[in-house]
Symmetry: C2
Subunit: 153 residues, 2 copies
DNA sequence: GATCCCACTTGCGTGATGCAAGTGACCCGG
DNA sequence: CCGGGTCACTTGCATCACGCAAGTGGGATC
């Protein structure tokens, strides 16, 4: 949970980043999601994250509903937390393309089928996958009015 | 560019987060991508970001190849920068689902067609869209060996 | 009892961010 | 010409986030 929120941003991406935009957050989620980690020391060891930071992150994830804490203690992803998956996949894909000189270290597979799982933007109406310039943002009327009512500086 | 990198993480998502994981970074990219912003004060005003932080971010984005700086000065997204789009879309989608009590403030449309653009994980082999538990991570052999050669603590 | 492991907590130092004022360049109007 | 406004930053300082390392308490095992 970001200390200072993005309050002037009427935008869901900003809302998401308020919850998982801090240092280590998405890597914690990644390890829970894909390495099956549930224990404090598992996360700590695998990430090299300081225990006070990990405590803070896990506590806030539980409060935000991304994880639930069970006796043990076990930190288990909720449905809400699991649905962060496309973000992890998209981050991975970009990194594979532009920041992986040795090739992709991790690939994601469809369990059972064995095919590679990729994350892509596609049009719900026609099915096409538009290149980035072919995607435009439409701001809802109420959102535009709310944005205008919130001058930043 | 994160101050302390995620050096022990052999993972492209971590590489990506090293470049765009700092505060404001993805919101800057979002504004460039979807609001056509190219000028310093445009970003500064719309985000309410401190000028010293914005300077630092833009400079590093140019160094990392996400933006190029032209006379004006104009900050223009490169192809590398534009390919961050699925990340923005995925962040938005999660936020729409779980953090938008008033509904989605922004939707993304397929230019021309008008259909909504969504980002989804799909299997390249069979075309299915597996739910999160149906996606598994496969770590490449060299990556596992490199990870094992990098004890964290 | 001693030892080990786990799940944190604590205290302090360093680095990131926020705030607000300032600077220099440029443009426009009087 | 001068003054005012705008833009693109820079600077100095305060606050907050994170890193580091030691510590504490609980539980299990020998």
């Amino acid at each position: 949970m970001l200390g200072k929120l993005y309050e002037t941003q009427v935008c869901s991406a900003a809302r998401t980043l308020e919850i998982v935009g801090e240092r280590w957050s998405l890597l914690i989620v990644r390890n829970a999601m894909f390495a099956g980690m549930t224990r404090f020391t598992e996360f700590q060891r695998s990430l090299g994250i300081a225990p006070n930071i990990l405590t803070k992150r896990l506590t806030e994830f539980v409060e935000a509903g991304l994880f639930e804490q069970r006796p043990g203690p076990v930190y288990a992803l909720t449905a809400k937390g699991r649905e962060l998956q496309p973000i992890i996949l998209a981050l991975t894909a970009w990194g594979d393309r532009w920041a992986a000189p040795d090739g992709p270290p991790v690939t994601y597979e469809h369990a059972g089928c064995g095919g590679e799982v990729v994350v892509e933007a596609a049009c719900e109406r026609c099915g096409e996958r538009p290149p980035p310039p072919g995607v435009t943002a439409q701001v809802a009327g109420w959102a535009r009015r709310r944005q205008d009512a919130r001058p930043v500086s």
